[in-house]
């Protein structure tokens, strides 16, 4: 999206008024941002307002509570959807080295990519499993609250301009094939192969309010928890714990950890720096 004009004044978002607005949004639409870390929400709300030339929280409130289409765009803005393929190549390398062999012992695999945004990490995981010859006996559940992003994820269409850095990430992550064999380029975009999509299931799930819906062998949830306050982080880790089989694997973002959560003793570190954990009890 376009950068706001640098001379424009960003709307100052008052904490109390913002909390009130988020409560109202929760009441009317069921989307709950009240336990998101505030500094980032304020920034995203300010940016949303700025791009639409909204000057007050009151004006924003009017728009969001009376126009559901604007609310969808608001959710798009507030839930950060920035991601990339094979983000942090060292993480995927560690996953290939330390986890894939373990996964290969299961007759079939259920994988959950929680907070999949536009899906780049879903396809990264699918490619990784494909190269271990595990994709054909895997189902990858990819979930997000953001329907619009998930539509992009489902289509698997990305700008061709991104492929250079994705290819470099892929190679650093231990990828051994020609990355371009996984997609077809067309009109400035690439579309990922049908074979990769066969075992992907996309559907809406809200980590804040929804329950566990299956038992998984691997859960990837990277750079989602950083946007949550501590109490919510703790609950979501509880949800993941409940959703993993014993010896199931949980992978978090490079700056996230289980350190401050109740379930930290139920997990064993598999790769410390890469934030890969195994449920042991």
């Amino acid at each position: 999206m376009k950068e706001p004009d640098r001379n424009e004044q960003t709307m100052v978002v008052d904490s109390e008024a913002l909390r009130h607005l988020l409560e109202e949004i929760r009441g009317v639409y069921g989307y709950d941002f009240t336990e998101y870390a505030e500094a980032s929400v304020k920034r995203r709300v300010g940016r949303f307002a700025e791009l639409r030339q909204i000057n007050s929280l009151e004006q924003l409130r009017e728009l969001l509570l009376h126009d559901e289409a604007s609310l969808e765009n608001f959710i798009q803005e507030v839930s950060v959807t920035v991601t990339e393929m094979f983000r942090d190549p060292d993480f995927y390398l560690a996953l290939r080295m330390a986890v894939v062999k373990r996964l290969a012992t299961y007759p079939f695999l259920r994988v959950w990519v929680a907070g999949c945004a536009t899906g780049e990490e879903v396809y990264s995981a699918a490619i990784m499993l494909e190269e271990a010859d595990l994709l054909r006996r895997s189902v990858i559940y990819a979930t997000d609250i953001n329907q619009k992003s998930m539509q992009t994820a489902r289509e698997g269409i990305y700008p061709i301009a991104a492929m250079k850095s994705y290819t470099s990430n892929y190679l650093k992550s231990g990828g051994s094939r020609e990355f371009s064999t996984y997609y077809k380029a067309k009109y400035g975009s690439v579309i990922f192969n049908k074979d990769l999509k066969k075992n992907l299931i996309f559907y809406p799930h809200n980590l804040v309010v929804d329950r566990s819906f299956n038992e998984f062998h691997l859960i990837l949830c990277r750079n989602v928890l950083i946007y949550f306050k501590q109490a919510l982080q703790n609950r979501v880790i509880g949800l993941f714990h409940e959703s993993l089989c014993t010896f199931g694997i949980l992978a978090l973002g490079s700056k996230e950890s289980l350190l401050f959560t109740d379930k930290r003793k139920n997990f064993q570190e598999i790769a410390r720096k890469e934030k890969i954990y195994m449920k042991v009890k």
Binding site: E3, T10, S15, A39, R43, V80, K255, E256
Partner: protein, 191 residues
């Protein structure tokens, strides 16, 4: 009037040439310092750049990479991790974000400064040092508008003048000082 005790934090943004400027400032701060210092130095993602380790060798103060949800402590210098924005919460803890880069930068100085201004109101000092980017000028404006104090490195002596110049051009800068002067000024804030 004394500036002592007025502030709850010092926020520094630096880019190209920043390592030398930060080293010069941090080497002159005392072992016991009553304020936290939070720094965004533009840095490349991936490759270990040893920024924390190098700066730790120059300073008597403790130097750490900021972690999310960590409580910000006085007398500590925190650096934003590569590839994440660093934000300040009202309860004086850190948040991280992997939202899109701002002015091509992640971490971004504007993001740190704007969130710090919202969290601390008038109780902060913002400092922009050498760099070849316009990052930080929006943040300087936010700090000034919230009532905080803004300091910029003298572009005449800065290794890269563009970033200090952009900050000064906003008209929202209280002090323009050479690195030596910035170090002395910050030392004077110890309460």
């Amino acid at each position: 009037m004394s500036e002592r005790g007025k502030y709850a934090g010092i926020f520094i943004g630096s880019s190209a040439g920043g390592l030398a400027a930060l080293s010069a400032i941090f080497s002159q701060l005392p072992e016991i310092f009553s304020l936290p210092i939070v720094v965004v130095q533009h840095r490349a993602k991936g490759n270990r750049d040893l920024l924390e380790e190098i700066l730790a060798g120059k300073s008597a103060l403790r130097i750490e990479q900021a972690s999310e949800k960590e409580a910000i402590r006085a007398g500590c210098i925190y650096l934003a991790p590569p590839d994440y924005h660093l934000l300040i919460e009202e309860d004086m803890t850190f948040s991280l974000s992997s939202a899109e880069p701002v002015v091509h930068s992640r971490p971004s100085i504007d993001v740190l400064f704007e969130s710090a201004a919202l969290a601390l109101g008038r109780r902060l000092v913002g400092v922009v040092l050498t760099g070849a980017s316009p990052d930080g000028s929006k943040g300087i404006t936010a700090i000034r508008r919230s009532g905080g104090l803004t300091v910029v490195q003298d572009p005449e002596e800065a290794e890269y003048a563009a970033m200090p110049r952009a900050a000064i051009a906003t008209g929202n800068v209280d002090k323009i000082l050479p690195v030596q002067g910035i170090a002395e000024f910050l030392r004077g804030l110890h309460a």
